[in-house]
Every structure is written in structure tokens, then in C-alpha cells.
């Protein structure tokens, strides 16, 4: 009898997660703790980083079967076998379908649209230029990634981190990356959200380095008031123009603008309430935990991950610099009416980047109020990075 008991215990132990726990998994679990710490104690984009880091923990617990990357391999017909995922997938596999089939990011954009006020941009449409200039970070990083010998799909996924827009980065990388690539969507999302949280640390030194005291002190004219009709026409016009120009950006821009139209119309308050609260929160949880699940040991503990981290911060830095430099051009062209500091807000990261512009401007002149002026390029950056995403998706 004792023999049977001993055998049972041994076989239980052998089939338990403990036996399968390798050094790689342990390191990954420790890394997930670091991100949980950053989210909880340091308030680093906690709404996303906490679900992502917990997904990271779950996926690296061996034998749990919550997430199986093999199910998402593209078959001969050029797409993933959804039926196979539905029948054989674990919980996180099912949730990950929403990422893989590009459902979650546009839904998040719907919620963002209901929370965004485009009036600073409508009042000063030239801000679009700053939103476009800051996207240069994406494309210059693409060159950097290519020089480091990465594949086109990997380079595109890393470059989009420079768009400083989490949902867009997830959207592009989940569409571009192949199972043979050495990085995954989770890695991109982790880098993107970490750097977005670090915007107040990354941006100010670059902004100060590139501008003079005189430029930083520019007080801008007050923006004109925007009529309700203009606010209603704006989302419709943007959807038509952008979707015709870059059709692959239509899901992101279309949903963003739908959310905004619901808000500005003033007649869909119930839908606005759901889109910006319940729906957005549900999608955020699904998105976070399933994206976190893609960060399995093999995909993180390699050289490519280090490249993502380094190129990601470069992408942010170049984006900021290009925005500020373009702001300087506008400063010269308008004979000193534009404060170049608002250019850095063009990287999106709404509203953090605009707050940084305000903060840096206020350091020179505490009564200078740049926030609303910076919101123009800031929301233009969201549209700009969605367009850049569309371009990357259609070329690569």
C-alpha cells in the first residue's frame, strides 16, 4: 500500500507545474513581478500594465495550457485556423483571438473617440503638421531596425512603438508578426506602454535641448471657439479622407471617429457612456491579459527583446525631436507665434504628451498656458499614427 502511495505522490509531483518549471520560466515570472510593481507602486499605465503583467505570469506557469502559440500558426490558406483555436484553445487563446483578429484595438479607439475633444485641432488645423512630423520617429526607427538585421515585419512592429499609441502598436504588430519572428505582440505592447508611462521622463530633456529659452517662453494666442456643427462634421470628414487615402487605417480611424461623433452629436449619451466605460473596460481587460500571455520565455529572453527595448526608446526620442524641430520651423514661419514645445505632443500618448508640453512651458513662464495648444498636435498624433499604421500594413 505504501508503495502505491509513494508512486502516486511521485507521479503527481512529476506531472505538476513544479517539475516543469525551468529557469527561463522563473526569470519570466520574476520579470512579470517587476511590471506588476511598476504598475501598482509607480502607477505606470496601471490599467493596461497590470493585466499585461498578470497575463505574463499566467502564461509562464508551465502546463497551465492557458495560451498555446502553436494554435495561431498561419495555415496554407494564409490565415489562422479559428475553429481549431475555439475547440482546442485555453481561456487566454480564446481571448487572444480578439487581438489576432484585430477586434480589440478598434474597440478601444471607439472608447478613446468618445473621450477626445478635437476642438483645439479644429480651431488650429495647422497642428496636424506637428502630429505628422512626430510620426517620423516611426519611420526612422524602421531604418534602425533594418540596420540591425531585422525582418520587415519585425522592423515595422518595433517602429510603430514610436507612434506612442498602445492600441495602434498592438494592432500593427498582431497583424504583421509571423510565428517565425523572434518577437511577439506582447513584447511590443510591454515596450509601448512602459515608454508611454515614461513620456514625462523621456521628453523634457530632448525638448529643452532643441529649443532656446526665448522659444520656450512664447505665449500663444487664444484659440477661437469651435461651433457644434464643425465638431460634428470633423469626425465624418476625417473618416472619409483618411479611409479613402489609406484604407488599411479605416478600422482604427473609423472607430475613433465613430466614438467622437457619438459624443459630439449629443443624442447618443447612452452609447457614449457604454463605449467609454463598460465596453472600454471589458476590452482593456481582455486585451491586457491576452497580450501579456504572448510573452512566453522563448520570445522574451533573447537578443531581439533587447533590440525592441533600445529601438523603442529611440523611436520615442526621434518622434519627440522631429515634432519639436517642426515646431521650430512653424515658429520661424509664423514669426514667433508658435511655441515649438507643442510639437513634442505630436507623438500622441494622449494626454500625457500635451501635459509635458504644458509643464516644460510653465517652467519658463508660469503663467503660460500651452495645454490646449498642445492638445491639437496631441490628438492629431493619434490620427497620424493610425495613418502611419495603415501605411506600414499596406506596404509590408
Amino acid at each position: 500500500m505504501f508503495e502505491i502511495f509513494k508512486e502516486a505522490i511521485v507521479s503527481l509531483a512529476q506531472s505538476s507545474g513544479f517539475a516543469a518549471l525551468g529557469i527561463k520560466e522563473i526569470i519570466m515570472i520574476l520579470i512579470s513581478f517587476v511590471f506588476m510593481y511598476l504598475a501598482i507602486a509607480k502607477n505606470f499605465e496601471p490599467l493596461l500594465l497590470l493585466p499585461i503583467s498578470f497575463g505574463m505570469l499566467l502564461t509562464n506557469l508551465p502546463l497551465s495550457g492557458l495560451y498555446n502559440p502553436d494554435l495561431f500558426i498561419i495555415n496554407e490558406e494564409g490565415h489562422i485556423d479559428v475553429l481549431n483555436v475555439l475547440t482546442n484553445g485555453g481561456l487566454l487563446d480564446l481571448l487572444y483571438l480578439g487581438v489576432k483578429l484585430q477586434v480589440y484595438p478598434p474597440l478601444i479607439f471607439l472608447g478613446i473617440g468618445t473621450m477626445t475633444d478635437f476642438s483645439p485641432l479644429i480651431a488650429n488645423p495647422k497642428s496636424f503638421l506637428l502630429g505628422a512630423a512626430a510620426q517620423a520617429g516611426i519611420f526612422f526607427t524602421f531604418i534602425g531596425a533594418a540596420l540591425l538585421g531585422m525582418s520587415a515585419t519585425e522592423a515595422g512592429s518595433i517602429a510603430i512603438i514610436g507612434g506612442a499609441d498602445g492600441p495602434t502598436a498592438i494592432y500593427v504588430s498582431s497583424k504583421l508578426l509571423k510565428p517565425t519572428d523572434t518577437i511577439d505582440t506582447g513584447t511590443i505592447a510591454l515596450a509601448a506602454y512602459t515608454y508611454m508611462a515614461l513620456v514625462p521622463i523621456i521628453q523634457p530633456p530632448i525638448m529643452k535641448l532643441l529649443t532656446t529659452k526665448k522659444e520656450r517662453s512664447v505665449v500663444m494666442e487664444q484659440l477661437r471657439t469651435v461651433s457644434k456643427t464643425e465638431k460634428i462634421i470633423f469626425p465624418i470628414a476625417v473618416t472619409i479622407v483618411i479611409s479613402l487615402l489609406v484604407p488599411s487605417a479605416a478600422p482604427l480611424v473609423g472607430m475613433l471617429m465613430l466614438g467622437n461623433l457619438l459624443k459630439e452629436s449629443g443624442v447618443c449619451n447612452r452609447l457614449v457612456d457604454t463605449a467609454q466605460n463598460a465596453l472600454m473596460n471589458i476590452v482593456t481587460i481582455f486585451l491586457g491579459v491576452s497580450v501579456g500571455a504572448t510573452t512566453q520565455a522563448d520570445k522574451i529572453l533573447n537578443v531581439s527583446f533587447a533590440k525592441v527595448i533600445i529601438l523603442g526608446v529611440i523611436a520615442f526620442g526621434i518622434g519627440t525631436a522631429c515634432g519639436v524641430l517642426f515646431g521650430k520651423i512653424m515658429y520661424v514661419v509664423t514669426k514667433g507665434k508658435v511655441n515649438p514645445l507643442i510639437g513634442s505632443a505630436g507623438v500622441s500618448a494622449v494626454p500625457m504628451a500635451a501635459r509635458v508640453s504644458q509643464k516644460v512651458g510653465a517652467q519658463e513662464n508660469p503663467t503660460n498656458f500651452l495645454l490646449m495648444h498642445a492638445m491639437g498636435p496631441n490628438v492629431a498624433g493619434v490620427i497620424g499614427s493610425a495613418v502611419a499604421a495603415g501605411v506600414l500594413l499596406s506596404i509590408i
Binding site: 519611420f139 477661437r224 470628414a237 501605411v391 506600414l392 509590408i396
Partner: protein, 125 residues
């Protein structure tokens, strides 16, 4: 890892990307500016019409009402400041007299509430 990209392809991606992003946003600038111009013109027309039609009485009344409100506002502010100073004096056993209250130069462009709002929005870092 896939095979390395050719540099000509890389630059093609970069140039296409930048051109398309700028082109898209410039198109939007043109569109939004035109709409903005139309609406400011329409608004100006409406204002002209409404200014010409009703009697000037309506314009005068709010102006007259506005002045005492501003004065009352100032009195209130002085009362609040005096009360705060009196409290401070009571705490350390001295008495103070408020001789004058002047707006600080430069800060006049924004009210205390606007400053408080500004502080709150930029508070997180």
C-alpha cells in the same frame, strides 16, 4: 529570423510612409480650414443680422449689470483675504491690517480658479 531587407526597400518604406502621412494630414488641414472659414463667415453674418435687428436697449442692460458684479467680486476677494490674514494673526497672537490688495503683474491674465485647474491637470508629475 527572416532574411535581411534591402536598403532600397527600407528607404522606399520610409519615404512612402512620411509622404502619405503628411499628404493625409495636409488634406485634412485644407478641408478643416475651408469648413472653419465657412462657419466663421456664417457666424459673422448671423451676428450682423442679430445686431442690426433688436433695439440697443438689450445690449446696454447686461453691461450695466456687469459692473457691480465685478465690484462685488473684488469686495469678496478682499474680505476673504482679510479673513485669512486675521486667522493667521489669531494663530500667532498678532493683529494685521490689510492696507491694499493688488493683482500680481503677469498673473492678471488668469483667475485663481483657472490656475487651480491648470495645477490639477499637470499635477501627476
Amino acid at each position: 529570423m527572416e532574411m535581411q531587407m534591402e536598403m532600397s526597400y527600407v528607404f522606399a518604406v520610409v519615404i512612402t510612409g512620411l509622404v502619405v502621412v503628411f499628404l493625409g494630414l495636409v488634406l485634412l488641414i485644407a478641408f478643416i480650414s475651408i469648413i472653419g472659414k465657412i462657419f466663421t463667415a456664417v457666424d459673422a453674418k448671423k451676428k450682423n443680422k442679430s445686431a442690426a435687428a433688436p433695439a440697443p436697449k438689450a445690449v446696454q442692460a447686461p453691461a450695466a449689470a456687469a459692473a457691480p458684479v465685478a465690484a462685488a467680486d473684488d469686495d469678496e476677494i478682499i474680505a476673504v483675504i482679510s479673513a485669512a490674514v486675521a486667522m493667521m494673526g489669531a494663530a500667532d497672537g498678532k493683529s494685521y491690517r490689510v492696507k491694499s490688495v493688488k493683482a500680481a503683474p503677469g498673473a492678471a491674465s488668469r483667475s485663481a480658479w483657472a490656475m487651480a485647474g491648470l495645477k490639477e491637470t499637470t499635477n501627476p508629475f
